[in-house]
Symmetry: C2
Subunit: 102 residues, 2 copies
Amino acid sequence: MVHIELCPRYEKAIEILGKRWTGLILRILQDGPKRFSDFTENIPGLSAKVLTVRMKELEQQGIVCRSVYAETPVRIEYSLTDKGMALQPVLDAIQSWATQWV
Amino acid sequence: MVHIELCPRYEKAIEILGKRWTGLILRILQDGPKRFSDFTENIPGLSAKVLTVRMKELEQQGIVCRSVYAETPVRIEYSLTDKGMALQPVLDAIQSWATQWV
């Protein structure tokens, strides 16, 4: 057996980023703050139920910030935190690879 | 509604790379050619059944190459293709982000 030491932080990052739809949600957030419906309307196949779960996960990981504006009707927006914005090189690297190889 | 144009190649890349365990499988393959058991023994929670599915997907996508050596017993090794090796900047970017933020 070959023993390979996987970095626990890398494993955790893969666990966070590798969830279904997360790569697309982050891509949309790179464009600026967005409302809930902006995700479901731009990602075919993503249900409101699954999006709710994903957003809560991303909030818990400190990647996404949820802002509630006391307007009528109440406006809720999602945006990237500093930790979330630091993912830019990851998304850019995926885009570069996709452009060349996919 | 805000309309966001997601790049279809990016979407496809996320679909391929975002599958559960794939980020860890690729990380292990960066270390060089590996046998089937090297993955199951180094990734707790990854079953042989799921690994078989993942490896077939990665082969079909041209990311992983499966080599069969006519020895006794037969030796089967998995390695990265050029397309797979081109993922190095993606994995490096995830590692950098993980080191700083996770």
